[in-house]
């Protein structure tokens, strides 16, 4: 059996070696994409463009607004003169947040009544809007708290009024600074690998079919199992190389901490590569032309990417879609990567993920071998 697999492996490597462009396509776009996306993929919100309108012109209103301009969450891009200016700035997307303080703000505060800070948020991007609103509330609460403490001290003395307060201590584990790159850069390792590997393997068989070399292989004594395995070995090695490259960029360039066991990651990577290659090969055996394989790639990769938990939490999806994600190897691999990178969890927690990927790999490989045998008849 091995005697017949090895020539296929060698044949694939020779084909790759003769394709000058292939090496370039494998390395350069991967590196470029990793660097680009590592910076681009984040939900963190800083420097929200803000327009302010102060109709009170009091010390209090200036104090409140200066808290916004000193925060790195907000950038005051425009000082408006009228309500109309604020509306226009938000309509034209010149600002995403508008802060309006009406005349009488300081007076109301002084009387001990509730003084309003009006906030207008462009909700087009609901996520950014939600987070920005959270920061507005934090800054406003800080101002209110300081003002109340100040007032209590001035009027009633320190012991005058007792505040009863329950506060929340935030303990973010595994990513203390809520750094977005720590979440997305490990995720990119899986996503980029998925796209590269499926794309490579999806053409493996259909190209031979279209170019006509499949006929030659069919007349040789090789069996379908051997042919498929022979096809997978080179791609497996290429895939390992790609993952090593991307992981190196993640650790050395983006400084994402790796606290887990490298062997667990290696095992997870191997199983993930097998399952994605099996997927690509199945596509390849299902299609008659390269054009079809190409369309199928789009058809399959996009949902795999979106329904993996890479950027949209699986727990927020409807139940039916949540079930569908169980068939997605990327879903499991992302848990393994993020688990080993940030959490340092090992086999005892991750074994179900590894088992699921192994099962997907076996099922898809068997399907592509059966399918290939059938298409030969």
């Amino acid at each position: 059996m091995f005697a017949r697999i090895i020539p296929i492996v060698i044949k694939e490597f020779i084909e790759l070696k003769r394709d000058k462009w292939a090496r370039f396509r494998l390395i350069v776009p991967t590196l470029v994409q990793m660097l680009l996306f590592g910076y681009a993929a984040t939900y963190e919100v800083y420097h929200v463009s803000t327009v302010v309108l102060d109709l009170d012109h009091s010390q209090e209103s200036r104090e409140l607004l200066s808290r916004f301009s000193f925060s790195n969450r907000f950038d005051v891009v425009k000082v408006a003169q009228s309500q109309h200016d604020v509306t226009e700035a938000i309509d034209r997307s010149a600002a995403a947040v508008g802060l309006v303080i009406h005349a009488g703000f300081a007076e109301l505060l002084d009387k001990g009544q509730s003084a309003p800070l009006q906030v207008v948020v462009d909700g087009t991007n609901s996520n950014t809007a939600l987070i920005a609103l959270g920061y507005v509330n934090t800054i406003a609460a800080g101002f209110a708290h300081d003002y109340a403490a100040d007032l209590a001290e001035r009027t009633l003395g320190v012991h005058g009024m007792r505040q009863v307060k329950v506060t929340l201590e935030q303990r973010p584990w595994f990513n203390e600074d809520l750094n977005g790159q720590w979440f997305f850069v490990p995720g990119l390792i899986g996503t980029l690998t998925l796209v590269i590997i499926v794309n490579l393997t999806a053409f493996a068989i259909v190209r031979e079919r279209e170019v006509g070399t499949l006929e030659q292989i069919m007349v040789s004594p090789i069996r379908p199992v051997e042919f498929i395995l022979g096809k997978t070995v080179p791609f497996f090695l290429i895939g390992l190389g790609e993952v090593a490259l991307i992981v190196a960029v993640a650790i050395l360039w983006f400084q994402v901490p790796f606290v887990g066991n490298p062997l667990v990651l290696l095992l997870g990577t191997a199983l993930f590569l097998l399952s994605t290659m099996a997927l690509g090969l199945l596509i390849s055996t299902l299609c008659m032309t390269q054009q079809q394989a190409f369309s199928m790639n789009f058809f399959v990769l996009n949902p795999f990417f979106i329904l993996s938990g890479f950027s949209f939490p699986i727990s927020s999806m409807p139940k039916v879609l949540q079930w569908m994600t169980y068939a997605n190897p990327l879903r499991y691999y992302l848990v393994v990567i993020r688990g080993t990178f940030l959490k340092g969890i090992g086999m005892s927690v991750l074994w179900p993920q590894l088992a699921a990927m192994a099962a997907i790999a076996v099922v898809l490989l068997a399907a592509s071998i059966l399918r290939f045998r059938k298409s030969l008849e």
Binding site: L168, Q170, F183
Partner: protein, 378 residues
């Protein structure tokens, strides 16, 4: 440019599309299924996060706090644990996304000093979810704190005093309920169209080379520009069908409010389709092998469109260098246009900037494609 030759090429291309029903099916079904699948999948809203509670005091007060959590639509109490190691296990296994720990001296501290705190432990690997969940948890605790304050003042028999000296009155425009679906689905339409469009045309020339039919085409009197336009027309029609599907699903099925004019939508979509299809064509001219063309098309369109077009990740939060690069991502302009048409109801005049960029893009790609093709013929 002769209309007769243009028509001949278009007819030939239509026949070629028609006689490959599998590819045609994929081209029509792809946007349809993707819209349904992904329309439900793209959601950043958090509801009913599973909470793990660790009550180290077991008092009336701590139970009241948990009732506040249970009553909030953002949290569901999934389990009560008895030890710290169980908290660790629950977070590690992702059984719970947040753990609330009440210290053993919670009521005592509140009585003695007036302030007490509870701990919220979150698996922050997903920083965005963690950030939002902290916000919701803080709001729940705040509400609880106010209740405690009110009942405390009540018991003292004092008149209710103004507690909060300042209130934030916030209004959200364009997407009043802050539903993430409303901003992601219009972007999704743009992303799907960018992908489908490129894959429709990216193989059309390389296929002719690989099958040897290009020699035949070269020997005919057809000119490069006629070949390009003739080949693009059938795909433009196909692309329009796809776009109409996607837009209709977004507005009618997912109920994203559409506030713009249909005319503006028609003009901008046609322009965008033209850009996308001619880019696929350009790739096809540049790269002779189908595998090469498809690999580049996939690399050049799929992930960049997903990550750099502003459809998921806001462009204004990216570092300046990356922000400059996004100008090259043609999907970015259509994402802006579709989002603004849907949510803001912008007019063509207000969308002049992205439209202008698309026109520049279309011209540049056409010139490049014509130039590249001429070179090939030498």
């Amino acid at each position: 440019m002769k209309l007769r030759r243009l028509k001949a090429i278009a007819v030939k291309e239509v026949l070629q599309i028609w006689r490959d029903p599998r590819s045609l099916m994929i081209a029509l079904l792809l946007p349809f299924t993707q819209m349904f699948l992904l329309g439900y999948g793209v959601n950043l809203d958090l509801k009913h996060l599973p909470v793990c509670t660790f009550d180290r005091e077991g008092s009336q007060l701590s139970q009241d706090l948990f009732k506040h959590f249970q009553a909030s639509q953002y949290f569901t109490i999934a389990r009560n644990v008895q030890s710290y190691s169980q908290v660790v296990a629950a977070i590690d296994n992702a059984d719970c996304s947040i753990a609330i720990v009440v210290p053993p001296d919670f009521s005592e501290r509140l009585n003695d000093s007036g302030t007490a705190s509870v701990q919220a432990i979150i698996d922050a690997t997903d920083d965005n979810t963690a950030n939002i969940a902290f916000g919701y948890a803080a709001a729940v605790v705040n509400g609880f704190s106010n209740d405690v304050q009110v009942s405390w003042i009540d018991r003292q028999g004092r008149p209710l005093q103004q507690v909060q000296p300042m209130v934030v009155q916030s209004r959200v425009w364009f997407n009043e309920d802050l539903e993430s679906r409303n901003f992601i689905i219009p972007g999704l339409v743009a992303a799907i169209m960018a992908l489908v469009g490129a894959q429709l045309t990216s193989l059309t020339i390389s296929r002719e080379w690989e099958r040897g039919t290009m020699e035949l085409l070269i020997s005919t009197p057809v000119r490069p520009s006629e070949l390009m336009i003739g080949k693009l027309i059938p795909y433009l029609v196909l692309g329009w069908l796809d776009a109409a599907f996607c837009l209709a699903i977004a507005a009618l099925w997912f109920g994203v409010p559409y506030r713009g004019t249909l005319f503006a939508l028609f003009v901008t979509t046609s322009l965008f389709l033209f850009v996308v299809l001619s880019i696929g064509y350009l790739l096809s001219v540049l790269i002779r092998s189908q595998v090469g063309a498809s690999q580049i098309a996939l690399l050049a369109t799929m992930l960049p469109t997903m990550l750099l077009s502003g459809y998921i990740f806001p462009i204004d939060q990216m570092p300046p260098v990356i922000r400059d690069i996004t100008y090259l991502i043609y999907a970015r302009y259509y994402v802006t246009i579709v989002k603004d048409l849907f949510l803001k109801g912008s007019s063509i005049v207000e969308l002049a900037t992205p439209i202008l960029f698309l026109i520049v893009y279309a011209t540049a790609v056409m010139v490049l494609a014509a130039h590249a093709f001429r070179k090939r013929l030498d």
